[in-house]
Symmetry: C2
Subunit: 207 residues, 2 copies
């Protein structure tokens, strides 16, 4: 039996929906929006700030990468060298997020979406790390249905969002986002279907 | 119901064993060694030559990439510019292999291991494309048990073999080998276990 499932996902792939369904079916806690709310409460930062900086920030700072690798993230203080200080704020947020994510599975079994949780929990033997992706047409169709039309073309929205996640992930983990070897299983939700992906993950979580 | 399953795999990950088991359980044809034998019979090349050049060749020629992309692989003749002619031979072999792999699923349902089969059959809607990988320790242990000790350290053997496959794949498909988005599902056999991987693939093949 697993204790924690991490869901990394391409924008529009349905990874969040799969995570929610898996959590519901297993009766586990689900940390997506709930992680932001909790972090806001514990940190004093606004939810908006955390939403904006907690996963998609394209900061060029990478001092935390080595901190995170060594596990020495309980203290920090180094400046990332930014003049306006915002990367340093992002780093500070990342440390809080890092420590919270490390602690969550010990509170009870849970599903965590994004936020480098696969990397943060990489050493837990009771974790199942998943990556959900799909082709651009499937994802474009999905984001229009879920989030509506915008001025930007869907293809551009997908590209920008994925690029931000990729940079954020690389920056804080030193790894390549979406590289299959980072995960235990990678599923093409467009080809296999949302339900089937949830089925596979639920089965594996129960082993 | 699927008609063809392709298995791409890291050296030592057990992908071949998974493929064999999946084929047995489904009662499908299994093309690994059988592909080499058939190609030898139809081409006149020796099995040794095909083994050596059919998947691991580190030729720098890439003229076939565009041919393969356009699907215009029924004829060939361009030289790849090599002085000793061996890359041209590899390319010729690749075209034969390409055409054989394209035709195999129409003979009956089958499982095909490696040889860019995921790429070659990428447009078939009744195909399931899988990538099997595992961490280095799992694979090192496995190759020693399967193929015995050699002078080279297991880590070096893994690295060399994977590098060759990577170069070969890139050369003939233009894609990055092991990038999750090339496949329908990617499974960590070291973490999930050989049996579990076979179970998941068999279930998906029957959908």
């Amino acid at each position: 039996m697993k204790q924690v499932i991490t869901i990394s996902r391409e924008f529009g792939s349905g990874g969040r929906s799969i995570g929610r369904e898996v959590a519901e079916r297993l009766g586990w806690a689900f940390y997506d929006r709930a992680l932001v709310e909790r972090l806001a409460k514990e940190s004093g930062y606004s939810e908006e700030f955390i939403e904006k900086r907690g996963e998609d920030a394209t900061t060029t700072s990478s001092f935390l990468f080595n901190l995170a690798r060594s596990g020495a993230t309980s203290g920090y203080g180094a400046s990332s060298g930014s003049i306006d200080g915002s990367p340093a704020l992002s780093d500070k947020l990342f440390v809080m997020q890092y420590n919270l994510i490390r602690a969550l599975p010990d509170e009870g079994p849970c599903v965590i979406v994004g936020r480098c949780s696969d990397y943060i929990l990489r050493d837990r033997l009771d974790a199942l790390h998943t990556f959900i992706f799909a082709d651009a047409a499937f994802r474009a169709d999905r984001i229009i249905r879920l989030y509506g039309e915008r001025d930007d073309a869907p293809a551009k929205r997908l590209e920008e969002k994925d690029k931000k996640r990729k940079v954020f992930y690389k920056n804080y983990t030193g790894r390549s986002w979406g590289r299959s070897q980072n995960y235990d299983l990678c599923l093409n939700s467009g080809k296999l279907g949302i339900e089937e992906c949830a089925d596979i993950i639920v089965r594996l979580a129960q082993k």
